[in-house]
């Protein structure tokens, strides 16, 4: 595409939150018919830039031009009317409404002012079919998993006839198939001249779909490039602002030494454990120091499987043995007594408590385990919290800031810290690297490897197959809410092998 005039031009954008300069004189241009990636570490200011564009935040300085005309957008509604359609980072839909409504609300087909429900449902189903989804569009959105909700949000955004489409980490909880589907649609839109702003922490995805990229660091513009100009290594270096050597070192460490201590005792055994409508009865054994990965497509039941092991949902069939003793987990508290920890994939509604500070969020689980009568002394709290803020590079490194004001990736790190400090024997992590930048992701992977070396068992759920392959000793493959195969992660197991199982549904 030649140098036409940009559809969107932001110059000198400045946004200050109490105590943080989130954006400091950022310039950004978006041309029609391009996919433009916005890159940066967690907390770099990507989402903030997007929100200033759509009028969620009022800017403290700078100028925004749409189609060459200076505009002041006073809110998402005006942004939409001006032809900017957005999928925000955290799924921002109303889960109490039906799927169809979430797609069409505000733009419902009407006749004489009356909403045409039938038409709306039909169109919603068609639209979702384009994304390869077959949902009951009149069911409330809350009955679907986060990944599906993400897809619905995308469906809503692409149906709005827009000049500019903004996708803030839309792929963070999608599996490869869904991502491919999304990319197909993005390409089609691009061809029709829509300008797409795309945020993702997956470098492969960036290189696959984008034409240009803009790099932010600490709220400042670093540079703008055509994708071909930059290698992945260079890109990462620009994002983190230092040499990459250290990072690669981390990845190596995570990859090597996946030998498991022999003769490890089983910590937990599920025998025919299941829950009707959620997950078919399954058998699974997790040993000390073992990393078990769960692989499967979106909606295959990974989350459901994991929730049963934490008592987050109650199993209605089968048995659960912990340390060779039969138990029932009536609620998470019971699981925590066995030192089982679970970090939910849905960090916004099932993870963080937005109002509370970073410190309080981190110590919450540990405090709950100790009971209210035995508060953790403040000094000890500060110690632990400081340690983990450093270890996980939580930014800003201010423990008293409300966690709500942290960037998405940093919230995820807070949650991880919450569970790590309880020193669990079995750590169940559902999509722990969701929305986390390259550096931190490597850090977390290294952490998991280290912990398991130290004897902690980990149940690792991730939509990213590579990650599962790299970390796990054993991989359980799910399909259709059924555990279909359990594989030792030996040298001959690779992504293709697992995809085959997923696709064919082979049972062992």
């Amino acid at each position: 595409m030649g140098e036409q005039s940009p559809v969107l031009e932001m110059t000198g954008i400045r946004k200050v939150f109490p105590g943080v300069v989130a954006l400091d004189g950022v310039d950004f241009r978006l041309f029609p018919g391009e996919v433009h990636a916005l890159m940066g570490e967690n907390g770099a200011g990507k989402s903030t830039l997007i929100k200033t564009l759509t009028g969620v935040y009022e800017i403290d300085g700078g100028e925004i031009k749409l189609g060459g005309v200076p505009v002041r957008i006073s809110g998402p509604l005006q942004a939409q009317q001006a032809g900017v359609s957005t999928v925000y980072q955290e799924v921002n839909l109303c889960t109490n409404l039906s799927v169809a409504e979430n797609i069409f609300i505000g733009r419902e087909p009407r006749r004489f002012g009356k909403i045409q429900w039938g038409k709306m449902r039909r169109r919603a189903a068609e639209l979702l079919a384009r994304l390869d989804l077959d949902l009951d569009v009149s069911a409330p959105l809350s009955s679907y998993s986060l990944a599906i909700q993400q897809m619905v949000a995308i469906a809503r955004a692409i149906d709005i006839e827009a000049r500019v489409l903004i996708l803030d980490e839309p792929t963070s909880s999608l599996d490869t198939a869904e991502v491919a589907q999304l990319f197909r649609i993005m390409r089609r839109l691009k061809e029709s001249g829509v300008a797409i702003l795309f945020v993702s922490h997956f470098l492969d995805q960036i290189y696959e779909i984008s034409d240009r990229l803009t790099i932010l660091r600490n709220g400042q513009l670093i540079s703008e490039h055509r994708v071909e100009e930059l290698t992945q290594v260079q890109l990462v270096e620009k994002m983190i602002g230092k040499e990459l050597a250290a990072l690669e070192d981390l990845e190596d460490k995570a990859q090597s030494n996946r030998e498991r201590a022999a003769e490890a005792k089983p910590i937990l055994e599920a025998k025919g454990l299941g829950r009707t409508g959620a997950i078919a009865p399954y058998n699974l054994t997790i040993h000390q120091g073992e990393v078990v990965g769960l692989a499967g497509l979106l909606g295959s039941g990974r989350t459901e499987l994991a929730r049963l092991l934490f008592g987050a949902d109650k199993a209605d069939s089968g048995e659960l043995w912990v340390d060779g003793k039969k138990t029932t987990l009536r609620d998470p508290q019971a699981a925590m007594k066995h030192r089982i920890a679970f970090s939910s994939e849905n960090r916004r509604t099932e993870g963080i408590i937005g109002e509370l500070s970073v410190r309080e969020n981190i110590i919450l689980a540990l405090q709950a385990a100790r009971g209210w009568t035995r508060p953790i002394p403040r000094k000890k709290q500060d110690e632990i919290v400081d340690k983990y803020i450093k270890a996980l590079q939580i930014r800003p490194a201010d423990p008293e800031r409300p966690v709500r004001n942290l960037s998405g990736g940093n919230q995820q790190k807070v949650l991880l810290a919450r569970w790590l400090i309880t020193e669990p024997r079995l750590l169940i992590i559902d999509e722990p690297t969701r929305g986390i930048d390259v550096g931190a992701k490597a850090e977390i992977q290294r952490l998991v490897a280290e912990l398991s070396d130290g004897g902690m068992a980990v149940l690792f759920v991730s939509a990213e197959l590579e990650e599962v392959l790299r970390l796990s000793h054993k991989i359980a493959v799910l399909r259709d809410r059924r555990l279909v195969e359990e594989l030792e992660n030996t040298a001959d197991v690779d992504a293709d092998r697992i995809m085959q199982t997923i696709a064919s549904g082979a049972t062992s």
């Binding site: 509604l77 109303c94 109490n96 409404l97 002012g113 909403i115 491919a180 197959l465 590579e466 696709a503």
Partner: protein, 341 residues
């Protein structure tokens, strides 16, 4: 990471099978609370019939609508507010203000056709004012509408602290107008208006953008804002509507009793909230139906009727029995819905 070769068999190839696996049937549970409430209401009515003489008289049911017409109208407005996750404590006071103002103006020989729109407008304005304070200044609905309560009742008492009879012909005629439904079963226009209010509200909530925005805001107002819905406008509209309904309730009241009084409708806000909640409207917003509110009003009305028919309870016992019946009802409702889900 390569993406293309990992794509599973696409829908075309294995279509029906894939569809089946992905669709897990979930029964639509949103009507369960309403059906449960209706069922329990019928049970309650039947036990009334079994226990009391003349309880099976159709006018028991018909009177239920008429006696609770004001509450019904007010509760309908309240339903909108609660659905957005708010609350409106001012409705009872707006009733007071409306009745006393109506009576005073009519007494001063204002034409009734001027008084009627004027007081309705006033109610709507009070509501709009509260909505504006809530939206623009982010004041808690509870405290903003509590201030509204003080203001409206204070104004009512200042206008006149005595009760004022209405001798206007139009009011009298509407008040006396009898609608014969069957032999010996008579109802009045106010009941019809109340039922109409329910129907209109149900239609608005189910079929209009405004109605759906109300649900969306109650579900998650931050998300609603990001989805580009007119959150501020809707919130203000909802309180305006509630103020209007309260004023309409006040007018119905002044028709029902052909008088105005500054303490009229005292405490009705709580009755209205209770009716909504009994009918399954969630106070946190985003869930519930006007039909539920209707049932809630009927439940409270029926409890009163039963106490009236029982006829030998003093104040203490009737309070206790109201409490017990309410308790039994709520717990049963809870059990039934839990089982059905």
């Amino acid at each position: 990471m390569t993406t293309t070769d990992m794509t599973p068999v696409t829908k075309g190839g294995e279509g029906p099978e894939l569809n089946k696996r992905r669709r897990v049937y979930k029964p639509n549970t949103k009507y369960v609370p309403i059906l449960a409430t209706l069922f329990l209401l019928i049970v309650m009515y039947s036990s009334g019939v079994a226990n009391y003489r003349n309880f099976d008289d159709p006018s028991v049911i018909v009177n239920l609508f008429r006696d609770n017409a004001v509450l019904l109208v007010v509760a309908v407005g309240m339903t909108f507010v609660i659905l957005t996750g708010g609350i409106d404590l001012s409705v009872g006071a707006v009733i007071s203000l409306t009745t006393i103002l109506t009576a005073t103006l009519l007494k001063a020989d204002w034409p009734p056709l001027v008084v009627l729109p004027a007081v309705l407008l006033l109610g709507a304005l009070i509501g709009a004012g509260q909505g504006a304070v809530i939206h623009f200044f982010k004041v808690e609905p509870f405290i903003a509408t509590l201030a509204g309560l003080f203001l409206a009742r204070g104004a009512a008492l200042t206008i006149n602290d005595e009760s004022v009879p209405i001798r206007d012909d139009m009011w009298r005629e509407i008040s006396d107008y009898r609608i014969v439904l069957a032999d010996g079963v008579v109802t009045k226009p106010i009941a019809i208006i109340a039922v109409l209010a329910v129907l209109v509200a149900a239609a608005v909530l189910a079929w209009t953008r405004f109605g759906r925005n109300v649900y969306a805001i109650g579900g998650n107002s931050d998300s609603a804002l990001l989805m580009g819905l007119p959150v501020g406008r809707t919130k203000i509209a909802v309180y305006t509507l509630s103020g209007f309904c309260a004023a309409l309730g006040g007018v119905l009241f002044s028709i029902n009793s052909t008088s105005g009084w500054a303490l009229q409708g005292n405490g009705m806000e709580l009755d209205a909230i209770a009716a909504c909640v009994i009918g399954g409207v969630l106070l946190t917003g985003g869930s519930g139906f006007v039909w539920g509110t209707l049932l809630g009003v009927l439940v409270t009305g029926l409890i009163r009727t039963i106490i009236n028919f029982q006829g030998d309870l003093n104040a203490a016992w009737s309070r206790i029995i109201i409490g017990v019946l309410l308790f039994a009802f709520i717990v049963m409702q809870r059990l039934v819905t839990r089982k059905a889900k």
